[in-house]
């Protein structure tokens, strides 16, 4: 599926879920009180969006049946702006946690969903976020089984913060463990990098620039499952390079394995528009955030087959081998630049700040 198909699908989903008629336009402190207003918010159709058997019980928590080894993860989403090209905080909150589970080699099953809303958030915005959550859950095949809603005073939040916690069953053939990374393994990225970070940057106050770049927020669990179904134990490591980007994940792996990693700049897939935006903004795509991309380290013998398999998946069309694990230069990531020079890739100190000139 191309990006525009994804967009059409999202629009369609929005049309299928018209906002109910409500007697309030904005979320107020009362909606988080736990009392009548909270119940009216939940009953008025809002939580029908996420309807499922476990959630409908409205109990204090959900009782789940799980089989075998279980993966468990949590993440909080505080993105600004809440709506960005190609998505909003809602689908990000689902996909982020789904992808973290997938990186453990797990099949994501259940999510918890907690909102911390700043009073004054327009009901319509909240609705859009909910619909995005519904869509993302359906796509990923997960259900929201428990949740919470709190409202904080104006100025004490930033429109809406979302926390999701996820549980998944570990794939029977998965053994994702950094200790399994060995010399000769190949490093693969699943798609173009740096897209999400640049999409967000393009709408930040003071930095706006015109572009058609859209966030790559999407689930990766189906692609990962397909990979594990076919290559199982030969998949040694899965990581999703969100904040800090690919460069940071690579340096972490080198540090933790005490092995070296060679990467080749010419093989790292970056969309041409994103690459141009990075040039103009003075940013290195290696350190720009991703949402719908993963890095995997696989047995060298199956690397080409892994790439071929990934490329058949709609979200992994630019999958590429970008490097290999080596015994030379332990604990270091060495990048061969486009012109053939070599340099070390290190971790960033703080946030990547745009340069003057």
């Amino acid at each position: 599926m191309t990006v525009s198909n994804l967009k059409e699908k999202k629009i369609k989903m929005r049309l299928q879920c018209p906002m109910p008629k409500l007697d309030f336009d904005i979320i107020t402190l009362g909606h988080g009180s736990g009392g009548l207003l909270t119940n009216r918010l939940l009953d008025s159709g809002v939580f029908d969006v996420l309807k499922n058997e476990l959630l409908d019980r409205r109990h204090d928590g959900a009782v789940l049946q799980l089989n075998g080894p279980t993966a468990f993860t949590t993440d909080s989403f505080v993105i600004s702006p809440v709506f960005f090209p190609g998505g909003n905080i809602g689908e990000l909150a689902v996909n982020g946690t789904v992808n973290d589970l997938a990186m453990c080699g797990a099949i994501p099953r259940y999510l918890s969903l907690s909102f911390i809303i700043e009073e004054g958030l327009e009901m319509e915005a909240f609705w859009d976020i909910l619909v995005a959550i519904k869509f993302a859950c359906a796509e990923a095949g997960v259900t929201v089984v428990t949740g919470d809603t709190k409202v904080v005073e104006r100025g004490k939040g930033d429109k809406i913060f979302i926390n999701t916690t996820g549980i998944g069953e570990v794939h029977a053939q998965a053994q994702i463990d950094i200790s399994r990374v060995k010399v000769g393994d190949k490093v693969i990225v699943s798609d173009n990098i740096a897209t999400h970070g640049i999409a967000i940057m393009s709408v930040r106050e003071g930095l706006e620039f015109e572009t058609t770049i859209e966030s790559d927020s999407r689930n990766l669990n189906h692609a990962v499952k397909a990979l594990l179904d076919e290559f199982g134990l030969q998949v040694h490591l899965l990581r999703d390079p969100t904040r800090g980007g690919l460069g940071t994940v690579l340096t972490e792996v080198a540090r933790d394995t005490k092995l070296g990693i060679d990467v080749h700049q010419k093989d790292i897939p970056v969309d041409e528009q994103v690459s141009g935006a990075c040039e103009i903004l003075g940013l290195d795509p290696l350190y720009v955030a991703n949402e719908g991309v993963f890095m995997t380290i696989v047995d060298g013998a199956v690397a080409d087959a892994v790439v071929e398999k990934l490329r058949t998946h709609e979200y992994c069309q630019h999958a590429s081998i970008i490097g290999e694990v080596t015994e030379a230069h332990p604990r270091q990531v060495v990048l061969t630049s486009g012109i053939g020079g070599k340099r070390v890739v290190n971790m960033l100190v703080g946030e990547q700040l745009p340069r003057i000139c």
Binding site: G206, G276, G282, R343, V344, L353, R355
Partner: protein, 371 residues
């Protein structure tokens, strides 16, 4: 990407490298003036590809690095004490002042905004008529026209709540100061392509004549830099000292006359303190008296005493090319990008920070620390 990939072409780069190797017969010390070039040299791994005869030293052309402590203190003061909306280019934020950086000040609640253009700051001033908006106007000649234009623009709009904290520095006086230093060993220069795109070539002829050094105005992509180095080496080997222009796709002999006119409309040339290098005569811009209501220094009469630089930092030696970052005992130990002792470790374009980010020395140092 058009106009970019051509200048990152590996085959072309190899051809220039081969030509440099063929031409060079003895050791030469060449300085790239601009921090953007330092960044490119290190990021593309060019330093290690050059023949060992060529010693690249890294000049003072990182505007963030050479901005004096005092000016950062002033910016922090304006943001915290005067309740202004302080707008700045991104990489100024992490630079430590004598007490704190703008990033820390922002975390403490000051209204500090990262912008790409001073015209955005004018827009913010227009949208917030009851707040004062100050743009931290840092940079070489390259950013001066846009900063000057923001003042012209605000003046034309009749805005009374916009001003700039100007700290512009100029390249030719810095080269003059470097070459006048007896310890300086630089034999040829790559001049900064973007600066010359604005200012043209005229200012550099007197330097070539006075000091007898080759100067080649050079771009920033790997192929640009390799070609620039080759042109300097060819001159050195032939015993020549000329001004040449490698960056012909951007630099015209008379620069950008409109930009120069805007600079002269708003700024006067003045003496300027350079962090790590002391005061260099006639090496900066200040806002002209005609526009003094747009000069944040005058508007807010900020008087903050000069804070002393850290004595352990050998920034002067680094920027004059006398020492390399690795030769500093504090490099990567006491002095790191997250806690810089001085100027060149501050911005990613500073020589020490560039070495720190892209070199293997750090891991070795960390390994030593672990062992």
């Amino acid at each position: 990407m058009k106009f970019l990939t051509e200048y990152r072409d590996p085959e072309l780069a190899q051809r220039y490298l081969a030509e440099i190797k063929k031409t060079v017969t003895r050791p030469w010390t060449i300085m790239e003036v601009c921090g953007g070039q330092t960044h490119s040299l290190v990021k593309n791994g060019i330093l290690a590809m050059l023949p060992k005869e060529i010693n690249m030293v890294h000049g003072p052309g990182c505007p963030v690095c050479v901005t004096p402590l005092n000016l950062i203190d002033k910016a922090v003061y304006l943001a915290e004490e005067k309740d202004v909306i302080l707008c700045s280019y991104g990489d100024m934020l992490r630079v430590p002042g004598s007490e704190k950086s703008l990033l820390e000040s922002k975390a403490n609640g000051a209204d500090i905004r990262i912008l790409y253009s001073p015209l955005e700051a004018v827009k913010i001033a227009e949208e917030n008529p009851d707040r004062e908006v100050v743009f931290f106007a840092v940079g070489f000649e390259t950013t001066a026209p846009a900063n000057a234009l923001s003042v012209v623009h605000a003046n034309r709009m009749g805005l009374t709540n916009y001003s700039i904290l100007a700290s512009h520095v100029l390249v030719p006086p810095a080269i003059e100061a470097l070459m006048s230093d007896e310890e300086c060993s630089v034999q040829g220069f790559l001049a900064a392509g973007h600066v010359c795109t604005i200012m043209g070539m005229e200012e550099y002829y007197p330097l070539v004549d006075k000091f007898g050094v080759p100067i080649v105005i050079t771009g920033f992509e790997p192929v640009d830099i390799l070609q620039g180095i080759l042109m300097v080496v060819q001159q050195l080997e032939a015993g020549e000292a000329k001004l040449e222009n490698q960056y012909t796709r951007m630099v015209r002999p008379d620069g950008n006359p409109n930009a120069i006119k805007t600079i002269r409309e708003v700024f006067d040339v003045t003496d300027r303190m350079w962090r790590g290098m002391d005061v260099i005569p006639m090496s900066g811009y200040e806002v002209k008296n005609d526009y003094e209501s747009f000069d944040a220094r005058k508007k807010f009469s900020v008087n903050i005493p000069e804070a002393p630089e850290n004595k352990e930092c050998i920034a002067g030696d680094i920027m004059k090319g006398i020492k390399k970052p690795f030769e500093c005992p504090n490099f990567g130990t006491k002095c790191k990008p997250e806690n810089p002792l001085g100027a060149p470790m501050v911005s990613s374009e500073g020589a020490c920070a560039a070495y720190y980010h892209f070199s293997d020395q750090i891991n070795r140092l960390e390994e030593q620390a672990i062992a």
